[in-house]
Every structure is written in C-alpha cells, then in structure tokens.
C-alpha cells in the first residue's frame, strides 16, 4: 500500500479549487470553470469507487491507513477507512459532482467562487470521514463551517444573513465542548489516535462527561430536537446545491460521529445515555413530522423531514444491535440520496417559478410529466416504501428497536405513518389537483442536466431498495466487531 489514496481523495478537490482560484473569473470562462470543477469531482468519484473495489470486506481493521507525524510529539496525521466510513466517502464523492452539475440555473453570480467553496467543502467532508485522529477529525469537522457559511451567506435567499449566522454559531457552540473533551482525552490517555484509544479504552469515571461533550456537538449537527432549529433556516435560505450538500452529507457527519466516537470510545456512557437518545429521537420523529405536516414552504417541509429521518438514525445507532446500526447507516445513505434529490426537485420548480410555496403549484402533472415521475420516486423513497432504499433502513431500525424497547418502537412507527402523510400530501398538492395558477402552464419539463442528475440519484435509490446486499456486506464486519467490543467493555464493567 504505497499510493496514498485517501490523502489523494482529500487533497484532489482542494487542488481543483486552487486551480479555479487562479483562473480569472470572466464570463466566458464560466463554462470552463464548471468543467474543471466537474472533472475534479468526477476523478475523485472514480477514485473512491476504486477504493471500494480494493476494500477488503472481510476485516474490521482500518485499511489504507496513512500515519505521519504532524505536530511532533502531539498529533499524528492519521487517516484510514473501515466498513463504516467508506460508504460515506463514496456518498460524498457521488453527491458533489451532481451538485456541480445542478448549479446551472440557481447560481448566477460569482460562479467561480461558488465552485471553489463546494470543492473545498468536499475536501473537508471527506477528511471528516477518513480521519483516525480526534484532533484531525475536529479540524475537518469545524473547517467545514467556513465554506458552508459563505455558501449560505453569499448565494442564499432573502434571510440568508440570519440563517448563515445561526448555522455557524449553533454549530460552533456545540463543537467547542467537543474540543475540551478531545484535549481532556489527550490528557487522560496520552493520545488522540482513535485506533489506540479503541485498544486502551477510556476510564469509565470520565466517560459520562466526555460523552456529553461529544454529544453536544453531534446533537447540534445531526440535528436532534431541541437544537434542530438552525436546520430549516439554513435549508430554506441556502442555494439548491448548498441544501443538497447540507442534507446529504453534513448531517451524516454527526451520525458517523455517534457510531465512531460515542459508541466506540465511550461504551459504558453510551449505555447510560441510551434512554436520553431514545427520548430525543422519538420526540424528533413525531414532533418534527407533525411540524412538517403544517409547512407551506417545500424546502422547509423537507428540512423538517430530515430532522425526523435523522431521528430514526440516532434511534437505530443506540439500539446497539447489528440490525439497528446497519439500518442507521443504510438510512443515512438513503437519506443522503433522497433528500439530495428532493432538494434538487424543489430547485427545479423554483428555478422556473421562483417560489417555494406549495400553494403556488398544483396540477402540474400534465405539464411536466417527467418531473412528476421522478418526484414520485423520491417521495415514495422518503416515506419508506418497500422497494426503495428508504424502506430498508427504516425497517432494520424498527426491527432492532422492537427487540429493545417496545414502546419506543411503536412511537417511532407512528412517525413513519405521519411521514407518509406529509410526503404524500406534499406530492398531491404540488403535482395533482386542479391547475389554478395559469402561470404554471409556461413551465418546461426537465432539461437534460436536471434529468441526468435526478436519474443518477434515482438509480441507486431503487437499486439498493431491491438489493441492499452490497451495502450490508461492506459494513457488516465492522459493525459486528464494534458491537462485540461494546458488549465486552460493558460486560467487563459489571
């Protein structure tokens, strides 16, 4: 293993961004800039597919590990992947080119800088999923705030300043406690290397506080109720590509963090706090689903549905069973695909009508039939219809939840029903019904690039719905090993 494939994955987008930075952003260069960005992100995508191809599914050890001295005697730059992280990397590299394709209509000013922001963002997102050192993780985790703040603030909607500030400050506030915890871990154990920490374990008397500090960061990022309020604002105001990145990948950082760090490093604390997570998850699922029912803005509705879906994810993770965690990861991948697609769908009609209000639309099924079909696929995937990837995740999570806690599982299932209600109602109001607004007649159906991006998202959604085997095979060994370690350390405590 000589070729540093993970570092290449991390660095490539930044190199592309640097290249864009030094090309003049004149109007005739706009197309070139886009192709440069697209090319970079596609190379990254194929590189990550190659990574998946090389990936050994039979071991739970970290692969492609690179370990270099970074701050002497303090921190090593260490990256590596296992079954849990590799899927997120592929998700990131898959979504980013689609984002870049989709910027056609929504971003008119400063396209060059927008593409730079997206590529830099990709660097940080991949870095989060690769890093095997807590400080390196924190670095990437926090650095992502900068490009996202700019994406929302510069290219966002009317209330963009408020939303950008809220996003930045909420997330930063959550994260600083994690920094305290990371430094404390260094002080307690003498290392921040995740692999070593897995072996050493952390003294149980410290675990609860450390767990809470990590939780404060991940809960904001997930987002869990009651700190989810930044998400609808950020989603509504962000440009389409920003919303897509936010929903598809940024939220997954927290779910990944829960699995990798909360479960992996603090098993006994995770056991202690499982009821807390269950409660918050169930509240998130039911409460935000009810809120979603009442939304009049399409983006806001999807944003609230994201909170509900992430509620399932946290619920699944903390069942601490094979099925539950597998379900959570599949749910995250599926949500990454589906929410990205839904935001793109909203973007499509917004570009034409410049309104995100549900009331503006209605009866457009005959006018833009291709759009209606693809939107239907994603609506059904979002509500978890069997045959879509949404179903696999939710089903596994609920199965695990039923084994663990009947009441929680029943309440969560209730959330599935409300979820179906708001998604179908949204679809009905936007696509079907009478055509009242005559402006809508001028709408044109999907153009080639829109159809391409949405189809690209629809294929894996359906494929993994029918045949989730490739996903499960990849994550299975890592998760069962994680659970074994967890059970061992919880048992040895008693």
């Amino acid at each position: 293993m000589n070729f540093p494939i993970l570092s290449s994955l991390i660095l490539l987008p930044s190199i592309g961004a640097l290249f864009l930075f030094f090309t003049k952003s004149k109007s005739e260069n706009k197309i070139t800039a886009k192709y440069v960005a697209l090319f970079t992100s596609l190379v990254n995508f194929f590189l990550s597919i190659y990574l998946w191809f090389l990936f050994d599914q039979t071991t739970s050890a970290f692969q492609f590990v690179e370990d270099r001295i970074w701050i002497k005697g303090l921190i090593n730059y260490k990256v590596g992947v296992d079954g849990i992280s590799i899927l997120f990397i592929i998700l990131t590299t898959f979504i980013t080119p689609l984002c870049i394709i989709s910027v056609n209509n929504s971003v008119t000013k400063r396209l060059n800088e927008f593409l730079i922001a997206i590529l830099v963002m990709e660097t940080f997102m991949i870095g989060v999923f690769c890093s095997l050192d807590l400080v390196v993780f924190y670095l990437f985790f926090e650095a992502g705030l900068i490009p996202m703040f700019l994406i929302i603030g510069i290219w966002g909607g009317a209330r963009r300043v408020y939303s950008a500030f809220k996003f930045f400050l909420f997330t930063l506030l959550g994260s600083v406690l994690m920094l305290v915890a990371i430094i404390s871990i260094y002080w307690i154990t003498g290392t921040t290397d995740v692999v070593q920490l897995y072996e050493l374990g952390i003294d149980t008397k410290y675990q609860n506080l450390l767990w809470l500090a990590f939780f404060s960061s991940f809960a904001v990022k997930t987002p869990m109720w009651p700190v989810h309020t930044w998400l609808p604002d950020a989603h509504v105001e962000a440009p389409t590509a920003g919303s897509v990145l936010l929903a598809a990948i940024l939220l997954k950082m927290a779910g990944y963090g829960f699995i990798r760090f909360s479960l992996g490093l603090f098993p006994s604390a995770s056991e202690v706090f499982t009821p807390l997570i269950y409660t918050l998850s169930v509240i998130a699922i039911i409460f935000t689903s009810l809120i979603a029912l009442m939304q009049e803005d399409m983006k806001k509705l999807i944003a609230y549905s994201s909170v509900a879906h992430m509620g399932f994810v946290t619920l699944g993770i903390f069942t601490i069973q094979q099925q539950g965690i597998e379900g959570s990861i599949i749910q995250m991948i599926s949500h990454g695909l589906v929410s990205a697609a839904l935001f793109l769908c909203v973007g499509v009609v917004y570009d034409r009508m410049h309104s995100r209000l549900i009331a503006t639309y209605g009866g457009i099924v005959t006018i833009i039939p291709k759009y209606a079909i693809l939107f239907m696929v994603f609506t059904l995937a979002a509500l978890g219809l069997p045959g879509t990837s949404g179903f696999v995740g939710e089903f596994l999570i609920l199965m695990a939840a039923f084994k663990d806690n009947f009441l929680v599982a029943v309440l969560a299932s209730l959330g599935v029903i409300i979820g179906a209600a708001y998604m179908l109602w949204l679809y009905k109001r936007v696509i079907f019904g009478k055509l009242i607004n005559s402006e809508l007649k001028k709408m044109i159906d999907l153009n080639k690039s829109e159809a391409f991006t949405l189809t690209c998202l629809a294929i894996p959604t359906l494929y993994f719905g029918f045949y989730p085997e490739p996903l499960i095979n990849t994550i299975e060994v890592s998760i069962s090993d994680l659970i074994d370690t967890y059970n061992f350390s919880v048992a040895s405590k008693q």
């Binding site: 001295i69 970074w70 701050i71 002497k72 303090l74 400080v135 924190y138 670095l139 990437f140 926090e142 650095a143 705030l145 900068i146 703040f149 700019l150 603030g153 510069i154 963009r160 300043v161 950008a164 500030f165 930045f168 400050l169 930063l172 506030l173 600083v176 406690l177 920094l179 305290v180 430094i183 404390s184 260094y186 002080w187």
Partner: protein, 472 residues
Amino acid sequence: MNNIELIFPEIFISLSIMFLLILGVFKKDSSKIIHNISLLVLLITAVITFNETLSINPTTLFNESIVIDYLSSFMKIVTLLAAFVVLLISSNYLRTFKIFKIEYPILILSSVLGMMIMISSSDLIVFYMGLELQSLALYVLATFNRDQLKSSEAGLKYFVLSALSSGLLLYGCSLIYGFTGSTNFNVISTQFNTNEYAITFGIVFILVGLSFKISAVPFHMWAPDVYEGSPTSVTLFFTMVPKIAALTVFIRFLYVPFLNLIDQWQMILVFLSIASMLFGAIAAIGQKNLKRLIAYSSISHIGYALAGLATGSNEGIQSSVIYMTIYIIMNLGFFSCLLMMKRNNIYYEQIDDLSGLSKNHPLLSISLLIILFSLAGIPPLAGFFAKFYIFKSVIEQSMYFLAIVGLLSTVVAAFYYLRIIKIMYFDEEKDSYDKDHNLWLKLSLTVSTILILMYFIFPSELIDVVSKINII
C-alpha cells in the same frame, strides 16, 4: 566586565538612536533617510540578537539585574521584527497625513529599546526603567498626528492613565522592596518566606500596573479610545509590540521570584483572563469603528495569552508565547488591510466602509476573510492552533472552568468577526479603494495570509522553537 557582548543589541540600538537624532538635527529633509536607516537598525539588531544570544545558556549581567536567556532573546527578536514591519508599512500612511517626520522612527526605536530592557530585566528597578522609556515614547507616538483632536486626546488619555498605573506599579515595587530588602528577582525569591501576606499586596499592585500595560480587563479602559485616536500605524504598533514586552515581564515576574506563591496569584490571573476573554468578546459586538473593534479583540486575545500564564507550567508559558506570535502575524495582516482602505487620500476605518469589498477587491477580501476566521479561531487556520495550545496547557492543569469559559467566549467573538465577513461578502458594494499600494504593504499582507493559511502544514516548527523556553 564579563559578557558585555550579550547586550550589544541594546548598545547598538542606543547608539543608533543618538546618531539618528544628531543626523536629524543637522541634515535637512532627512526623514526618508532616517526612516530607512531605522529599518536597517532594527534588522541588524535582530540579527545580532539572533547570532549572539539565542543559543547561549541563561546568563546574568550587571549584578544579576539583566538576564539573557532563550525567552528574552526570542521575545526580543519578535519585538524587533514586529517593529520592523510596522515601520516598513507605515510610510505611506504617514505621508498621507504629512507626518512623515524624523521623530517617528526614532521614537519607535526608543520604545523598542525600552522594551528590550524590559524583556531582559531581572530587577524591579531595571524593569521600571525600561517600562518608562517605552511608555514615554509611546505617549508621543499616540499624539503623533498632533493636528487632529482625537490623536491628542488619545495621547493625553494614555499618558494620564498610564502614569497612574506606573504609580501603582512603583508602590508595589516599594512594598516588595520593603519586605524583602531587595529589588532583584533572584534575591526576592529567597527572602519572602516570613511575610507572605505583605508581599502578596506588592504582587497585586504590580500585577495591576502590568495588566494596565497589556490592557487586560478591568484595566482596559484606555485601550479603545487610544487605539481609535492614534494614527493607524501607531495603533498597529500598540496592539502588538508593547504587549510582547509586558507579557515577558509578566512571565518573569511571576515565575522567577513568586512561583511558590502561585496559589496567591493564580486566582488573580484566572480572573483577569476570564474577564478579558468575555468582556473583549461581548463589548466588540456593538462597535462600528474597526480600530475600536480590534482594540476589544486584542483585549480578548490577551485574555487567552493570560490563560496560558495562569497555568503555572512551562507548557503554559510556551503556549502563551506561541499565542502571541501567531496573534502578531494575524494582527499584521489585519492592519495591512486597514492601511489599504484608502480612497482619494482619505483612510476609511468604519466597519461599514468594508461593505461589498469582495466585489471590487477579491484578493484583499479573501485575505481579510482568512485573517478574520483565524482571529475567530476556526480550524484549520493558525488562530485555531494558537487557541488549541493554550487550552491544552490549561486542561493539563485541570482548569476546566477556564477552558470552557474561554471556548464559549470564542463563540461570542466569532459573532463579530462574522459580522465583518458578512459586510464584506453579503452586502452591497461601495466605491472601490485605491489599488496602487506600497509593495511592502502588499507583501506584508500576502506573507501574513499565507503564514496563517499554511500554518497547519508545518505546525511543528514554531513549537520546536518555542519549546526551548524554560523558565521553571
């Protein structure tokens, strides 16, 4: 006299000051040449300091009243280089206000001389001498734009309040002398066993005086007014250079004679640190003038440096030194931007004047963006690492409260840095500023931005250098 070569830098700089004064008196229109010679003097002094003193073992001179060790040499070099850059980039500003005079470089040299004496002092009287030399030069520098009311006001305010604090400081010195019978740091450390409480009084007075010099809350009141009123290039000098010297004295004064009394002064330092971090962050939110804002921001930053000192460990001292070094680089970048905001020979310094800067000046605004995010302590920029080292040393001493308050105040502080970024990037554009800037100004902005941005690639270098500082 043994080891006299160790104070060659000070001797050289004093002789140069006298020479330049005489040159200024006898040669007409000599401000340009004196400016250039001063630059050269600063550079040569830095080189001498580097060559003669950096690699030697701790040595004392003049009856142990002057100490030359790694800390003093490092801080002197930082002081000299910072003063060098200040002088380098301030010429255009001074010309615009027609205050490009011979006194300016000479005053800067004298204050630097005072600071070098402060940094090396191991005796209360020597320390006071250095302090007064640098303060007197700074009073005049603050009023340097004497035709402007605000500048005179700034100087007067600085003078009155500074004199008051010097008085307190002297009172503290006399208390300590009275109870220990010596003004020498090393002698004091062996003498105070009997009169611990009385000496604590003395320590408190001296700490008050020093806190005033570094503008730590609650002794910060002068800073915003003086920073706003002084000429921008002098403000740049104020925000960085005197603080290095005062911080070194802080280190030496607390850690050499009074390390055993750490229980007494640690609380004071923790309070100063927390108050500065929080107050600096909160008070900056409402500011409209960039220089006032940077005054509050510097109050907040000095709070973090004090947090490192409050730990009572070598790591704490090192982290404070790293913090100040990185802070200086960020400050240089920020003020380079400020000095570029010129249109038709008028300098603009309100936050609103930055409105829409990113459209007309993409490179300037991306540099300022990086500097501001770094000041806010967002990774992967240098400012994050500065804070990281501080909090690492703080948590190593189990001072969790200090660490958590400090980190929460970074969130508050992030708000006002973000506000500047918002105005630059999200708001409507105004007329563009001049683009034909001094080469040195551009260079200083570029270099500081690149250092901040690229610090994460080579983080070990600075630590290697600083880790040789060993006081305890």
